[in-house]
Symmetry: C4
């Protein structure tokens, strides 16, 4: 009954498991409430991605109810979970996968501090080393876009293509993050809220000291190439 | 010993279980401390609702100590839990059920950010898409009313009748939310605190960008009719 | 080997168990970090109270390492836990028990928002109904006092004697709360942080609406006499 | 196969276990997100210390994957964990151990409020007794320094040598704390975030009342010499 051959089926199973499990990182860090937020992951070697069903409780997410979609955002029929509707942000995820070949994961939340910057349409200035490490500079704002067609996807791709940042704050909406895989995009979602909160609080009490551009460049380069247990290429 | 016939008794048992369990959502999201806050649910097909006992620890709530009341707010004698006093907000819940036929659940908390807006008597402006989705516009303020008679209930009903919002901030007091059932009212209680916090934090740091009314209308309509796994009618 | 007769020994055992267990409420609500904070409880029918040892991890607290003291604050020798030093705030607790006969429990924390009001030496204005219910008005500030002699105890007793509030914010230090027993004092510690946080956040964003004194009186009276499962007398 | 003799090997095993376990205090208090932050501990009686591997999940930390380093910051080959890279802050930890003989533990985090003060390059004024107890005065700011050479270590040592405070806020970066052992440095990391948060919130709402220097001196002296279950010498 496999449509895709054994190798791709193995990859699909692994991405289903990863995407289901990674949603628990969003609740662990308080980035989502109720049924909000979503994680997706591209299936390596196929024009497919796996995404959360719409409006389902986080406690009920499991590999077999994640939903397999084509890069057009259409659910693949007769696959596990296909009887349900995918996340209402599926079109935006699909647009990113179609237009950014190196992106293997996408995450969307309404996390408090990142959404607060988005409600003012204000980018987050890079004033702490953790932000230089992870995002390589300011975190940009994307256009206001209504859900339901390609306009959110176009906004994300327009801002993040060629940008160091893996996060964009969609105006009046909230953060979208990308990564080389779903885990990497979740890390970016965790970090964007962390730096959004720290910089908000810092600025409440006075003037921020800017980071010199040369220091930002050095920190970003080191983190992308030296940090962790194996060299990680920047995804863009 | 059943007073209501087997069908209604089954419905009562289900609402008791739902209401007892849903209180854990209030503690999970930090919406209540100590014994504060309360959830109630209407029994479908009967002039009855189920509510939390007064001043009992959240850890001790169970289906059999939830309290069954008539729509006049009087405890039904000789039913499980009837030896205890019901929530001190019972009169307000009863007033809502008597006057809003489509409401199946009511929740009250003193959650931090929603209560902060209430202490200023200020409605929450609709500046983020999550708020347009869930509440369809600003979250309104209700009058200051003393507990113990119908004045809180009258305030809630007066504000929410014909309003898109399922939440009202009772002045100097805190949020009350309604829903098609207890689960839906709990979701509104979780969401009102989430948006109260995000908009508070956003506004601390500068000007908010308004959402165009047409966008609010589109988002609210889509969310009420398309989001989730089956169409959900707006309750009002 | 019982010094106090079987009835008092039973009371001591119960207070040891209560005081040990109640410390977990302080960590559950995030009112303490590391080894900070302390709960004590009077032994009914005896000139004794039970208090936490000094500088011991919360995870290691148990009935048998709670420390039994006389009302002079001196550890009762040859009792379980007596080989350890009692909380460094023991003198303050003892002073309260000696001078306020109706007090059966005392709690001290450095909880964030209550301590923030204390660092400004500012009382918390009564602008929300939860505060009128629980404290009957503003939460007062006590004098700055150095730890180690009776000056903290004198400050607490001087402020709280004849006051509706069961909480006092000791200037530059943090909240002390009292109650009819340890559980009641812990509830006051939880509530003082909750209202300190809500009123702080409310005031950050604009003018607060005062509560009329008559409404405060009505709310306090009802809460002390009607709320919960049995009438509770005010402790003072 | 023991290189160091049985006594030192026992000490290494104990420090590995302590350092691995103490990382859970950082997550418990929300001082770190993702793989950020690090704890190290000196091996008593040897020119060695144990530190966290780089970029590894907190859930995967265990005694056997902690990394043993010489005081030059170089990993000791053929020891458990040596196949991995140590924390990218290893050079800074090593510099502290080489230059501050009494320091037995070092911790680094990007905890929110402490990092917010660091982003403004502002020291935390000593206005609450908990801060006088634990740090003996203001918490100082260290210079901006780029990761990867000795400049962070030099900055920490330059500020903390001869200083009462066990915490320094490295500008635009975050807090580093020291202690007589890893546990003590972790306590300082927990406390610096706690006081950074409390003093930030206090100052948002008005003027802070200064603590008299004589009171600070008395509190610090008592806490270092009387608090807890056995006299603790100040580490510096």
């Amino acid at each position: 009954m496999s449509t895709y051959g054994p190798q791709i089926e193995v990859a699909i199973a692994r991405v289903r498991a990863d995407v289901a499990r990674l949603h628990s990182e969003l609740t662990r860090y308080g980035l989502v409430v109720s049924t909000g937020g979503n994680v997706s992951g591209r299936v390596p070697g196929a024009d497919l991605f796996v995404i959360k069903p719409s409006g389902v409780d986080y406690a009920d997410l499991a590999p077999e109810n994640m939903i397999l979609c084509g890069l057009d955002g259409v659910v693949i029929p007769d696959t596990p979970g296909a009887e349900r509707s995918p996340s209402s942000d599926t079109a935006a995820h699909a647009y990113v996968y179609r237009n950014m070949a190196d992106v293997g994961g996408v995450v969307h939340t309404h996390s408090t501090y990142a959404t607060a910057w988005a409600a003012r349409g204000e980018s987050i200035p890079c004033v702490i080393t953790a932000m230089a490490d992870e995002f390589g500079g300011d975190i940009p704002v994307g256009p206001f876009a209504i859900i339901g067609d390609d306009s959110i996807g176009r906004g994300i791709v327009g801002i993040l293509t060629g940008h160091r940042s893996r996060a964009v704050l969609m105006q009046n909406h909230g953060p979208f993050t990308i990564g080389k895989d779903a885990r990497d995009a979740v890390k970016a979602a965790v970090m964007v809220e962390d730096v959004a909160r720290t910089v908000h609080i810092a600025r409440q009490a006075g003037e921020l000291i800017p980071l010199p551009q040369a220091a930002i460049d050095t920190l970003f380069d080191r983190y992308q190439n030296v940090y962790g247990q194996a060299p990680q290429g920047a995804i863009l």
